[in-house]
Amino acid sequence: MSRTNTLLIRTPEGVVFSQLLAGPMTRFLAWLVDWFCLLGLTIAAMIIMSLFGFISAGIAQAMGLLTQFVLMIGYSIVLEWFWHGQTIGKRMLRLRVVDAQGLRLKFSQVVMRNLLRFADMLPVLYLVGGIACLMSRRSQRLGDFAANTIVIRIPKVSEPNLDQLLVGKFNSLRGHPHLEARLRQRVCAAEAAAAVQALARRDLLEPQARIELFAEFAAHFRDKVQFPPEATDGIADEQFVRNVVDSLYRSGRGEKKNASATANLAATP
């Protein structure tokens, strides 16, 4: 059974959307954060419960024990239910528990996956759960498997700030709209995003590395579409990449306005 990091869900309307699956390591880190939170909460609760010692030592001990137990069982159930599949650790690592078929997460699913932790955590440190997670095609531990849930990553939707990157620059590729259109056809999303990231972080690079990186990008994009010499001669590789990104992200008229529109969209959670 091959593992995948993306779960594709096809709707009855024929549209496919993807969910990025969280791997065992990310999940372990989220669990570690939750474990520390739980530890803090338990200590705080024990201190509060010890105040009952003024009434009776037995009551204080009983309250402490029950609170500890309720926190241990209820922490994940309550948080995942009220925060739509997230705990503190999962929030920090941008993870979320969702239904494996893309449907709404049910309370019974939250309860099931959390109670089955007791099987997953055997014999120590979630060994059974970890192995199940590694073996599962959808990175499910036993609890997830029984509850029909998966844990996904929610990537941060970062907006490429094109206005800041490209302001005041003349784009020599603009004079060849048919080639720009071909460029948009041939460049895939990942390549476009990589170029934007490289431009956004260009000031962080060592000078030599910067030259080499943009030379590679420029050569790559030149291979995709051959622009006439008057559009490319005499401009640096970095400027060429800026022009390419400008052409990719701002098609047609009124581009500035719409680049901002896209920006607003992507910023919406």
Partner: protein, 342 residues
């Protein structure tokens, strides 16, 4: 497809924003029911966004917009295509008097299997101590160390303590019992994921301990003490563990899927609400049993006459049988059931 992205985004953005707003409202207030017009609009927005996503998927340079649309479509898909019952207002009384006993009866065969395995364990434990008294020290875990000695001596010691244990000790003892028993029950459920093997082992071992202690007391001529001590809490505690075992076996049954045509995923999806109902019921029963065991079972004659304790235990058992067997039966239609916890 060559798409005029600028025009496309400008034209579609109001619809996406509207869908996002509708979804946010639906997620915050899950009990809210949409009117027919709102529902139509919601469906229209969903389909339009789906179409937008299909278009943008072919456009290379818009990963952010595509991701945003995927997030919108996945949220809307979950809302629109969910056919299981919506979250309803909490109704603890209805759940307790109807949902819980109905769920128990719906899976009663798993309960009988759970009981049978425990009885086999009891038989084994009873025979072990009957033929070899030394087996007690081997089989009994640390927490039952006080039963390791001679039962007659323990009874004499308990009956000499006229005041009974202190209230302080009893309170913490009660909490310990609840925590320990609920943990044991959760494990009985969770180990169902091992195709029931873990649950069966746990039930069998539980039965061995009960059988061993019971036969040991009977052989020592302390049957009345045993009944007086065990019945008040045992008639709730033991069935609670059996029900937890029942839940574990239901889970195992869904995994095995013997004689069922549905997929494993569909089977697991179908039983999840029932398992949740049963385990919450078990927790409730064990809280009650913990209180009784600490504050009632630990007092013996002459402080509390045995006939009172035995009568109390028998009454509890009769009520439990009535509750699980008869509660929630609709007089007009015996097949009517209330929805389980979703």
């Amino acid at each position: 497809m060559i798409l005029d992205l600028a025009r496309f985004v400008a034209a579609e953005q109001p619809y996406w924003t509207e869908l996002d707003r509708t979804l946010a409202q639906a997620e915050v207030n899950q009990r809210r029911k949409l009117t027919l017009d709102e529902l139509r609009r919601f469906h229209y927005l969903y389909e339009r966004t789906c179409a937008g996503l299909a278009k943008i998927n072919t456009f290379s340079s818009e990963p952010e917009t595509r991701r945003y649309l995927e997030s919108l479509v996945s949220r809307a898909y979950g809302e629109l295509h969910e056919t299981r019952g919506r979250r309803t207002r909490l109704a603890p009384w209805t759940w307790f008097t109807q949902t819980l006993p109905q769920t128990f009866r719906r899976h009663v065969r798993a309960f009988w299997l759970s009981t049978a395995v425990t009885l086999v364990g009891m038989l084994f434990g009873g025979l072990a101590v009957a033929f070899d008294t030394g087996s007690k020290s081997v089989i009994l875990p640390e927490m039952f160390a006080n039963h390791g000695g001679d039962p007659a001596e323990r009874v004499a010691k308990e009956e000499r303590e006229r005041t009974g244990p202190s209230a302080d000790r009893l309170t913490s003892f009660s909490a310990q019992l609840m925590v320990n028993n609920i943990m044991c029950s959760i494990k009985a459920l969770a180990f169902g994921i091992t195709y029931g093997v873990g649950t069966l082992v746990l039930l069998f071992y539980n039965g061995v301990i009960i059988g061993l202690i019971s036969v040991d007391y009977v052989m020592a001529g302390q049957t009345i003490f045993l009944l007086g001590w065990l019945l008040p809490h045992g008639v709730i505690e033991i069935p609670a563990v059996l029900i937890a075992g029942q839940a574990g076996l239901i889970l195992a049954g869904a995994l095995i899927g013997w004689g069922q045509r549905t997929t494993m995923r569909a089977r697991l999806r179908a039983i999840a609400p029932d398992l949740t109902t049963l385990i919450f019921g078990v927790a409730l029963m064990l809280v009650w049993a913990g209180i009784i065991e600490a504050f009632f079972s630990q007092y013996h004659a002459p402080v509390l006459p045995y006939w009172v304790k035995i009568s109390f235990g028998c009454t509890e058992l009769a009520l439990l049988i009535l509750f699980l067997g008869r509660c929630g039966i609709n007089r007009s239609s015996a097949n009517t059931t209330t929805p389980p916890i979703e």
